[in-house]
């Protein structure tokens, strides 16, 4: 007899059972078969300790199934840690909307997203909104989009301005904070307030990602204890040097990966 994890539940099998035999017995309509994180198309013998996930294409999985599918896709041990995490995102523009989507896809358990603005046509050049969302408050539009990606992420929203007074109230009990504002004075305000008021919580901020200079000039820097800064630190948004999707999403990708690494106890830079 061997024991495997079948759709994240323990299952004991006769030693010679193959993948296709298991499908025929348990989930005959499944057309996506994953063994130990890898989708397979051919029959294979099952071994003790294998993690097997089966899904029917097109069916919307429930929370438990999605969890098990994400688990199957991630390196063991990673998913459980990030699923317990709570991350704050200040600003839902080009940086914040991209960071939020990356973190929802990766399975961060809870996101708190704050923004005071509404979706405008000019945002669509880099922000993760759709044309039919113009006029909606960004936090509502982003929550809607995140729910379409992963309905089981717990999303808290704050439709208003963040200031030094409400910062730690809105972003309470978080594991990591993301600064994703647009205006430089707001970035500085949030950074100063966070480092003063929540010095034990890592902050991942961003500065310098306008234009279309080399992707490789965008870096993640460890500035001081619990303060990480992403960007090239020089290219400011100005007439003649606009914000564009590629570099903004590169910076957001740096931020999201820094968050992920921090959640896993690794140094981001």
């Amino acid at each position: 007899m061997i024991t495997i994890q079948f759709n994240e539940k323990s299952l004991t099998l006769h030693k010679k059972t193959s993948l296709f035999e298991l499908r025929n017995q348990r989930q005959a309509d499944a057309d996506i078969l994953i063994i130990n994180g890898f989708p397979v198309t051919e029959d294979a013998p099952l071994n003790h300790g294998d993690r097997v996930v089966m899904i029917k294409r097109g069916a919307i999985p429930d929370a438990e199934q999605l969890e098990s599918l994400m688990l199957a896709r991630h390196t063991p041990g990673i998913h459980a840690r990030i699923a317990r995490s709570r991350v704050g995102i200040a600003g839902a523009g080009g940086l914040g909307s991209n960071v939020a989507i990356a973190l929802a896809r990766v399975g961060v358990g809870e996101l708190i997203i704050a923004d005071f603005d509404v979706v405008e046509p000019s945002n669509l050049n880099r922000q993760q909104y759709f044309i039919d969302q113009i006029g909606l408050p960004k936090v509502f539009a982003l929550r809607e989009n995140l729910k379409r990606i992963n309905p089981y992420v717990n999303i808290e929203i704050f439709n208003g301005r963040i200031d030094q007074q409400n910062l730690t109230h809105v972003f309470n009990n978080i594991d990591v904070m993301v600064e994703a504002f647009d205006a430089p004075d707001q970035k500085a305000m949030l950074t100063v307030a966070h480092l003063q008021q929540a010095p034990d919580c890592p902050l991942v901020a961003a500065s310098g990602m306008a234009g279309h200079a080399s992707s490789n000039s965008i870096q993640t820097q460890h500035v001081r204890k619990n303060f990480y800064l992403v960007g090239d630190q020089t290219t400011s948004a100005m007439p003649g040097q606009g914000l564009m999707a590629p570099r903004v999403s590169i910076a957001a990708g740096h931020q999201a990966n820094a968050v992920l690494r921090l959640l896993l106890g690794e140094q981001p830079e």
């Binding site: 504002f181 430089p184 970035k187 961003a206 500065s207 306008a210 001081r224 290219t235 400011s236």
Partner: protein, 66 residues
């Protein structure tokens, strides 16, 4: 006197204030994060704070965009 800014030696007149330093460095007080001897300062509240010999400063100015 000498202070250290972002790891580099910076000679300056004794009694220089943070506000004067920011002006000299062409930095805007509402866009910077200042760490003075490991302590994060609110720039606007410390415009008149005087620097002392061997003070260690880290200054980061944010640029716009996000």
């Amino acid at each position: 006197m000498n202070v250290h800014i972002n790891g580099e030696n910076y000679p300056c007149a004794s009694g220089l204030t943070i506000g004067q330093l920011l002006t000299r460095l062409n930095l805007q007080q509402d866009r910077v994060v200042i760490e003075l001897n490991q302590k994060i300062l609110n720039a606007a509240d410390n415009i008149n704070t005087k620097l002392h010999e061997a003070d260690k400063l880290e200054i980061i100015q944010f640029v716009g965009g996000g």
